[in-house]
């Protein structure tokens, strides 16, 4: 495909290409959102288990620690391949998208669990004392006293992670998940100039992550103003 940039652009802007790009963007969105949501919920749960001390058997806490550390230390791509081959071994006929979602959720769980734990640890121990002597259960203490105070510590790094995570979901293309980066590669291979193929996915990544960055900034600002919530 030769010609001026304007001609190339005209050829690039077809309905088929647009839907292809948007479907890739949707897949990236699904991967990121499910990773962040599942990862945050599971990470929160694991952090709460690790923080529970003697209320949970030590073997459970140790197991949780091992899982969290493992998924934080193993490269994203390796986790992806392990999950991929684990599903193959299990013999289930599972789509690569599901493999991708499971992988990103595991990785996000590991990272977010540590972010949440740091937030819980940041609350002064005397807050626990007051709650315990007033007969708060562990979960009541977390809910009414600790978590409301931990948010301010948790939110900034959590949003930093979410933003990074949108980009990292591109690795799922390695096992054949047709997400945004994969779409860019396909378009490039079809002969569109890299400036258009990768330029368009760059814009779409920005469209995905910028609103999230704004939301994060807004929440941080609100937390800073209303010091107590």
């Amino acid at each position: 495909m030769e010609g001026t940039f304007a001609e190339q652009l005209r050829e690039f802007l077809t309905y088929a290409n647009a839907t292809f790009l948007l479907s890739g963007m949707a897949t990236t969105l699904v991967l990121s959102v499910s990773g962040c949501v599942i990862g945050f919920l599971a990470g929160f749960g694991l952090a709460a288990v690790r923080k529970a001390g003697g209320r949970v058997p030590w073997i459970v806490r140790a197991l949780v620690a091992v899982i969290v550390e493992a998924f934080r230390r193993v490269p994203f791509l390796v986790t992806l391949l392990i999950v991929f081959f684990a599903f193959q071994l299990a013999g289930g006929n599972v789509s690569v998208l599901v493999v991708g979602i499971v992988s990103v959720s595991l990785i996000a769980t590991g990272y977010l669990s540590e972010i949440v734990r740091a937030g819980l640890d940041g609350v002064h121990p005397n807050q626990w004392d007051s709650a315990i002597v007033a007969n708060f259960t562990y979960l009541q203490t977390l809910r009414y006293v600790i978590v409301p105070q931990a948010w301010r510590v948790i939110l900034p790094p959590a949003f930093g992670f979410f933003l990074m995570f949108i980009k990292d979901s591109a690795l799922a293309s390695q096992i054949g998940v047709v997400e945004l980066t994969y779409v860019g590669k396909v378009l490039n291979n079809k002969g569109y100039t890299p400036a258009l193929a990768f330029g368009s996915i760059l814009v779409l990544y920005f469209v995905l992550s910028y609103p999230l960055a704004l939301l994060g900034r807004y929440l941080e600002l609100r937390l800073a103003q209303a010091k107590h919530h």
Binding site: H124, N126, Q127, S130, A134, Q140, V145, H228
Partner: protein, 246 residues
């Protein structure tokens, strides 16, 4: 029957024996004060009583009933009767003064929020902080925070109130406020109290009995008059003479 009865209580912390066979009794309606040099185990004793630290051996009885500190139901029952005010106030930082007082009765004990709110406002009134109901702890002075903490403890209607060096973290000019608040409470309510304090004048005024502790043991027990004017043990005499010259 004594409200609280402690027998041969031993507690270790980081392989140090902090309580070395404490025995003492707190009678119903009495104010019992624990005095003694820093590190004698007074605050540790209070923390063991409310179950924030585990005893190594010995027994604690409330109303004659022995508390098994490994048993969640026992701990719960004991904490339902017993409230503690801490040296560093330990107010919930994410809640207003009023919320600090109401959360226990409402969320933990399931009492009627409107009724509890009324009681909480009355308590704030009593400790002179009705106008601070909507303030957060970091908007209050240390003395004000401690008075909120006292109101919070009272809202739990404790049968036994533990005060753990409640004025030690305060600026000197705020100490009187808090001590006057406690004096007033003692006038209006007959609450059984176990008090750890370095304020000797206060201890002398309010206590029915004074317990002098040193190195994790009870050295001497007596009325304030005995302990302050006529201590029997040399160690007590030594301590009293030192605090008096301050």
């Amino acid at each position: 029957m004594p409200k609280l009865s402690i027998t041969n209580l031993v507690a270790d912390y980081a392989s140090t024996r902090v309580l070395d066979g404490i025995s003492l009794e707190v009678e119903n309606g009495d104010v019992t004060s624990l005095i003694g040099p820093s590190g004698s185990g007074k605050s540790t004793l209070l923390r063991v009583i409310v179950g924030l630290l585990k005893p190594s051996s010995g027994s604690i009885r409330v109303d004659g009933r022995s508390i098994d500190y490994d048993h969640a139901d026992d701990l719960r029952a004991m904490r339902d009767q017993c409230a503690i005010v801490f040296q560093a106030y330990n107010l919930f930082q994410n809640m207003t003064a009023l919320q600090n007082i109401t959360i226990g009765p409402v969320k933990i004990r399931g009492r009627n929020p409107i009724e509890v709110r009324g009681e909480a406002m009355a308590l704030l009134e009593k400790v002179g902080l009705a106008d601070k109901a909507g303030s957060y702890p970091d908007e209050l002075s240390g003395g004000q925070q401690q008075r909120v903490a006292i109101a919070r403890a009272l809202a739990l209607r404790p049968r036994l109130l533990l005060l753990d060096e409640v004025t030690s973290a305060l600026d000197p000019e705020l100490v009187t406020d808090v001590l006057d608040t406690i004096r007033m409470l003692l006038r209006d309510h007959k609450i059984t109290m176990l008090v750890v304090s370095h304020e000797m004048g206060f201890v002398r005024d309010v206590s029915s009995r004074v317990v002098f502790m040193a190195a994790g043991r009870v050295v001497e027990v007596g009325t304030p008059a005995q302990i302050f004017a006529n201590p029997a043990e040399p160690r007590t005499r030594d301590f009293i003479s030192k605090v008096r010259t301050l």
